[in-house]
Structure formats: C-alpha cells, structure tokens
C-alpha cells in the first residue's frame, strides 16, 4: 500500500510538472508577443521600442523562457503566484478572496448530486423498466443535455421576473453572513449538482443492476431477506465504487462548468476571475488559475483512487 501510494504520488508529481510546462508553453510561445495581447495591436503600435522593453522587463517577460519558467516556480513556492497585470493584488490574494465561494459551490453541488442521484438510481434499479424508472432515466438524459449556464440564466430570470429577487452580487463569506452567503452559492450548486446527479443516477442504476444479478445477492435473497435489505445492505456497497469514480471524474465537469455557471448567476467566484483574466489577457493570472484547477482535479482523482483500497478490501496494490 505504501509503495503504491509512493508510486501514485510520483506519477502525480510528473503529471503536474507536465501540466505547468504545458500551460507555460500555451501562454508564452503560442501568442507571439504578450505585449500585443495586453495592449492590443493599436496600443502596441503606438509605443516606442524602449517603452516596450521597459514594460516587458517590469512584467518579468523579457527573460529567456526557461528563466521565466523557473521564476514562475519560485513564485509558486513563495505562495504569491505572481502578480496581476491590471489589479494591484497577487493571484494568491485573488484566490483567497474569491476561492472560498467557488469551493463552497463545488462541495455543495457534490452533496446535491449524491442526495439526488443516488436515491433516484436506487429507485430505478429496484424496478427496472417500470414507469418511475422511465421517468428517472428521461430526466437524467435531459439534465445531462441541458447546459448548466442556460439553466442558471433561466432560474435567475424567473426569480427576477416573478419575485423581483436577485441574489447578492458582492462577495459575502460564510463566516461573515451565512444567510447571504447561502443565497449566493445555492443557485450554482443546485444547477451543477443536478447535472452531476443525472450522471450519478445513471451510473448507480446500471451498477446496481449488474450487481443484483450476482450470486451473493441471490444467496441473500435465498436466506429470506427482504428486498430492501438485500439491496441496501448487500448490493449497494458493492455497486458504489464506480459511482465514486465517476464523481471524481465529474469534478472536471464541475470545475469547468462552474466558470460558465458563475457567470450566469453573477457570482463573484474564481470562475468569474478566470473569465475576466482571459478577456483582459492577463497571462499571469490565467496561467496560475489554470494550474490551480488542474492541481485540484489531479489531486482529487488520486484521492478517489486511494479511497478504493479503503472501500474494497479485495483490491490489493502491489
């Protein structure tokens, strides 16, 4: 087990280094001159050569690329993550300020997805091809197809139209005013949670149906257990592993999707910061935020893998 953990951690470290190099390359090599990106073609043309060089040096963009990369790693190690071109704050400050809101949304949506998806999946698997099963499957297909940001827009519009209600637009942290904070995060969390819940319902249904055909389930039935006990005590624990995996995979969907959903709800989270930075072409902010998203995604999926060993003693890691 310890050996397995060490190997996984090493692979993850390699992946993350690769990820950082990839982002760095995307941000520096592809666009040509970053100054054009920051100032626009016209603004760039209006400046003198000396000005350009001075600004590039100020931004730390005139050093050779490998040196810039090392500087970035140093910024990461120092915990500051570099400075925004346009705002006076470091990326770390931005993350600390806006991150909690986005994290709350992601975690709350995870709860929603399990609370909605799992019971629906179990209900479906209890009586496959019945009417409730049909309704549940139709709904899950529908929620997989609906873009979250559109659903979010419709919810915001409906609340505004019928109740004249608008959720707060400023950042209110959980520890400042829990009720205000809840109003901010509940909408995006529901939208993202329902979409994930649709996948979870689908997955738990098909896994349960597979397991229910197994011998040990037949044995449980044969010894006279009620159907409820058979499913909840015997079948369910064995069907849950793939559902946990898909939940980890879906995190990628939540991280990406939350960017658009935050925009739809007007939530001032990390996703909005990402969109603003992309539109302003704030290279330093974008590269750090993309790295953050990737790190979260990779680390969570490793945790999911490791949780396998805890949950399923049959799995041994060499």
């Amino acid at each position: 087990m310890r050996k397995y953990l060490a190997r996984r951690a090493m692979y993850a470290a390699i992946t993350l280094i690769g990820v950082s190099v990839t982002i760095f390359i995307i941000m520096r090599v592809l666009p040509g001159d970053p100054l054009v990106a920051i100032l626009g073609v016209e603004g760039h043309a209006r400046m003198t050569l000396a000005d350009r060089e001075r600004i590039m040096a100020d931004l730390g963009l005139s050093a050779p690329l490998p040196v810039q990369y090392v500087h970035w790693l140093r910024d990461i190690a120092s915990g500051q993550l570099g400075k925004s071109f346009f705002r006076g704050e470091t990326v770390a400050q931005q993350i600390l300020h806006r991150g909690p809101i986005s994290a709350e949304i992601a975690i709350l949506s995870l709860f929603v997805s399990w609370l909605v998806g799992l019971p629906v999946g179990i209900l479906s698997a209890f009586k496959p091809n019945s009417i409730p099963d049909g309704v549940a499957r139709a709904l899950s297909v529908l929620f997989i197809a609906i873009p979250g940001f559109w659903l979010g827009m419709l919810i915001v519009l409906a609340l505004l139209f019928w109740f004249g209600y608008k959720s707060p637009l400023v950042i209110v942290h959980l520890w400042e005013d829990p009720w205000q904070n809840f109003q901010i995060v509940v909408g995006p969390a529901m939208v993202l949670g329902l979409a994930q819940g649709a996948y979870i319902a689908r997955m738990s249904r098909s896994c349960l149906l597979e397991v229910i055909g197994d011998d040990f389930v037949r044995t449980a039935r044969a010894k006279g257990l009620g159907e409820g006990l058979v499913v909840m005590r015997h079948a369910l624990p064995n069907a849950l592993l793939p559902v946990i995996t898909i939940s980890g995979v879906l995190l990628g969907f939540v991280l990406g999707g939350s960017v658009a959903v935050e925009q739809a709800f007007g939530v001032p989270g990390l996703g909005r910061a990402m969109v603003a930075a992309v539109i302003e072409r704030d290279i330093i902010v974008v590269q750090n935020l993309v790295l953050l998203y990737a790190v979260i995604f990779v680390v969570v999926n490793i945790l999911v893998d490791i949780s396998y060993a805890w949950l399923d003693p049959r799995i041994r890691y060499g």
């Binding site: 692979y11 297909v141 992309v278």
Partner: protein, 311 residues
C-alpha cells in the same frame, strides 16, 4: 472483433437500388430496436438540414438591425421575437445552428481523428513511444475541458479556427485512450501476426490491418463527443471568448441577452433550447450507435476494463 455487424454492405454488382434498400432495412431495424436513438438521429438530421439550408429557411437577414422593431416579444412578424437592436431571433437561431454545428463537427472530427491515429500508433508500437504518449495524454486530461479550451483560444486568438482548434485539442486524449485499447487487442490477432510474418512494415500493418478495426469505435466516439463539443462551443461564446460577434452562435446570443438589465425571456430562452435539443439528439443517437456498433464502449465494459487494470 465480431462486433462490426453493420449489414449495410450488400454483394457488389447488385446495383444501386439494392444498396439503398439494404440501407433502408438497416435504418428500419435500428429504429425498431432503438427507437429513442432513431428519434435522436432524425432530430439531429433535421438540425443539420436547417444548418445547411439556413439562407433558404431564415425569414430575415440574421445580422440586419431594425430599429423600428427592437426588443419585440414573439409575434406574427418575428416568430421568436427580436433582440436589443431589432435582429430577428428565429433567423439568428437558424444561422446559429450553422456556426455551432460547423465548429462542433470540425472540432470533433479533427480531435478524434488525431487522437485515434495517435492511439493506433501507441497501441501497435507500444514500448517507449506508448509510455511517453500516455503521460502526455494524462497531462492533457488533467485540465478540465472548458478551462483548457479557454486558455488555448485565448492564446491563439478568438476566431472560428481558433475555437475549433481549442475544442479539438480537448478531444484528442479521449480518442487516443479508447483507440489505443482497441489497437492493443487487435495487434495480438492471428491475421495481424500473419501480416507481420509476411514482412509487412509496421506502417502498412497499422494502416491496412489495425486501422479498419477502429472505424466502429471511432464513429461511436465521434457521435458521443458531438454533444460535449456543442456545449463547450456555446459556453465559450457565452463567456465572450468564442467565435466573435456579430456572427450569430447560440452562445453569443445568450451572452448578448444578459447584457440587458432585465433580459427579455425570449432572448434567453430560445438559443438555449436550441442547444439543449441538439445536444439531446446527438447524445441519444450516440448511445444508440454505441449499443449497436460497439458494446465494448458501453459503461459496463469500460468499468470492467478499469477494474481489471486496477486489481
């Protein structure tokens, strides 16, 4: 590889009519066995038709502003209403289908093809090339799709090609992974061995013996990823980093609608409905094609594979 049972190919020389008939019977059989997927297919075909025939179908010029008719709710003159500068929403939704489908199809075909060829090479050649390629694909998959697409389209500029390219890159590892596993199993088959024994070069065997076996999974992959690509395109447009305005795309229309203080409901509703119906249609079709062509790509099988590798 007995899974490729598309009986749509009749004996040669039988003529055109019998080919048509064979295709027709196959469609009827598919419809009967998989009604939902067939409905998805017909709706998808209809949307493709709308996209192709946009200039004939659209009642008005999608770019022409009409300041006498701004912000009109749906009425007889403009069935889905008009936007803040008086452009006809129905025409814009119809033309939006053009852009969205063009971007999605190009991106999926490009990404899945590159990924599949890469996957064939990985699975067949194995060794060090495979090892490094796998690490590279892992790195590509470490980014959430939309985030990677945003970063790439920011780097190479927002234009139609940039968006296609950005979405295509996010599709590469999916094609690579699945096709690699197919190639891994195909390379052990006797006929491939026979090809090697006959002195065929690696390239020749990959092209003539391994690649044909990848067509079915390729089709399945491509259809299932169409929906994802459409959503990513719409999200990019919605976030203002997609195909630049005034080109009508569904995402751009949604982005336009929320610039108003109180967005008119028809501007927010219809483009999103178009996205949802399109994605739904292609997802249903994709599921059906998967069940028919390649049961190995069903969730149950993939789970088994994952479990097999882990234990």
């Amino acid at each position: 590889m007995s899974t490729i049972t598309t009986a749509g190919v009749p004996a040669t020389g039988a003529g055109r009519t019998s080919l048509l008939r064979a295709v027709a019977t196959e469609v009827v059989r598919f419809t009967r066995r998989n009604t939902l997927a067939a409905i998805g297919g017909f709706v998808g075909a209809f949307i493709i038709f709308v996209a192709l025939a946009a200039p004939l179908l659209a009642p008005r010029d999608p770019l022409k502003a009409d300041f006498r008719r701004m912000n009109r709710p749906p009425d007889a003159q403009s069935l889905l209403g008009t936007d803040q500068v008086g452009r006809d929403t129905l025409s814009r939704v119809i033309y939006g289908a053009r852009t969205s489908l063009f971007v999605a199809f190009s991106a999926v075909i490009l990404g899945t093809t590159v990924g599949s060829l890469w996957g064939v090479a990985c699975g067949y050649l194995r060794g060090r090339f495979d090892l490094y390629s796998q690490r590279l694909m892992e790195i590509m998959q470490a980014f959430p799709d939309l985030i990677l697409a945003m970063a790439i389209s920011m780097a190479i500029g927002t234009g139609l090609q940039a968006v296609i390219f950005a979405i295509a890159i996010t599709r590469i590892p999916f094609g690579g992974r699945v096709i690699r596993s197919v190639a891994l199993s195909v390379r052990e088959m006797p006929y491939v061995e026979a090809g090697r024994a006959n002195g065929g070069s690696a390239l020749r065997i990959m092209i003539f013996h391994v690649l044909p076996q990848c067509i079915a999974p390729y089709l399945v992959l491509a259809t299932t990823h169409l929906g994802v690509a459409i959503v990513i395109e719409a999200a990019l447009g919605f976030l203002g980093v997609g195909v630049p305005p005034p080109t009508p795309t569904w995402g751009n229309m949604l982005a336009d609608s929320i610039t108003a203080l109180v967005p008119p409901w028809w501007l927010a509703f219809f483009p999103g409905l178009a996205i949802t119906i399109t994605v739904l249609a292609f997802n249903l079709l994709g599921d059906g094609i998967r069940d028919t062509l390649d049961p190995r790509l069903s969730p149950a099988f993939l789970r088994m594979m994952a479990g097999g590798r882990r234990s």
